[in-house]
Symmetry: C2
DNA sequence: GTCAATTCATCAGCATACTGACGATATCGT
DNA sequence: ACGATATCGTCAGTATGCTGATGAATTGAC
């Protein structure tokens, strides 16, 4: 391996891409018998935690782009894991709720999800794992706004929608990257 | 934010996915005027470092799946950044080489790439950055085989193909995940 | 040397992701 | 009340990424 190669291969961005590929492959492998993806799992759990939330709020919770969530929840609905009903107070929205089958899926897949998280960090020693997770959280938190799909938990009220009210006032969308011409 | 939310949001896999989104967004933003992606950059630099290599070897160098590389090099070729000629010793392969325009692209985009790497790690303190990069390399290296596109540098000879020979004996492909039924 | 096994590039199919746009609806200022 | 503005879900277009398959070509066992 030449120096030229190391310069590319050891770039933070390059290593992060590879780690994401690895984490994703481990999840798919562990959860093979469920035919389920990391994003679908995140969406399902978030919907369970906040019954009745709308799609945009769901995006804010799991840091996913709005234009991607439609397909994801569509697949969950097709498999009968969630229900999608029109919002009552805001007729633009869809209120998402986990079905009994969805709750079962969350329960059954849990061991595979936990095993995945262990496997990802397995190469590190116990104390290193703590350090790594701290820095990872720090990096993601401080860089949050650089993503198109930043985490926005303040858009959430505890148990949003459980008593009817689905979504809520939207947070201000701060400076977006200016338009790119492609 | 409830405990249920933190359990999901602080999972290693979830944080890694978000960090990858952030790193990618930072790259696209910094390299906006070049209309270039991280993967295209990795491919272009690897081709420059190993003139004449074939597509499968390129996959091994930048840890990309073989079924994806065709589109990537196709785009590079369409923009005149690389040339793709049929292999001489092995007529199944395509020998890849960077053109003058490709070399110019690498030179011109370099500041944006470097800025991206700085921005990704910016939230950490200088000594933390070193620790994080060490652990990141360790995680990727030790988990390498779990990816469908593991890094395989031993498939490379110094300056492969420069004197005619394009690719080389293929390494053994160790245990693959058994077939999944979807 | 011949044939079985392997490898290369590619393909169809699916899933995640981002950009920029759209019609339908809400909200806000006045 | 009403018009400007913003937001919701969706869509078309593009790019990355994986699974499993294919035809063409090579390699290896014998």
């Amino acid at each position: 391996m030449s120096d030229d190669d190391s310069r590319l291969i050891d770039m933070p961005g390059h290593l992060i891409r590879r780690l994401q590929q690895i984490a994703s492959a481990l999840f798919l492998d562990q959860a093979k018998s469920f035919d389920f993806t990391p994003v679908q799992y995140a969406a399902l759990v978030a919907i369970k935690n906040h019954a009745g939330l709308d799609q945009t709020t769901l995006c804010n919770v799991i840091a996913l782009d709005r234009s991607t969530i439609g397909d994801v929840v569509g697949r969950l609905e097709k498999r009968g894991l969630i229900s999608r009903t029109n919002g009552t107070t805001d007729r633009r929205t869809k209120a998402l709720r986990v079905t009994a089958a969805g709750r079962r899926m969350i329960r059954d897949i849990e061991p595979a999800v936990m095993a995945t998280q262990r496997l990802i960090l397995a190469p590190l020693k116990a104390n290193e794992r703590v350090t790594f997770m701290q820095m990872l959280k720090h990096l993601v938190h401080l860089n949050n706004e650089h993503s198109r799909a930043p985490l926005r938990l303040h858009a959430l009220q505890p148990n949003a929608g459980v008593r009817g009210r689905a979504s809520t006032a939207q947070v201000v969308r701060p400076r977006r990257r200016e338009a790119t011409r492609r």
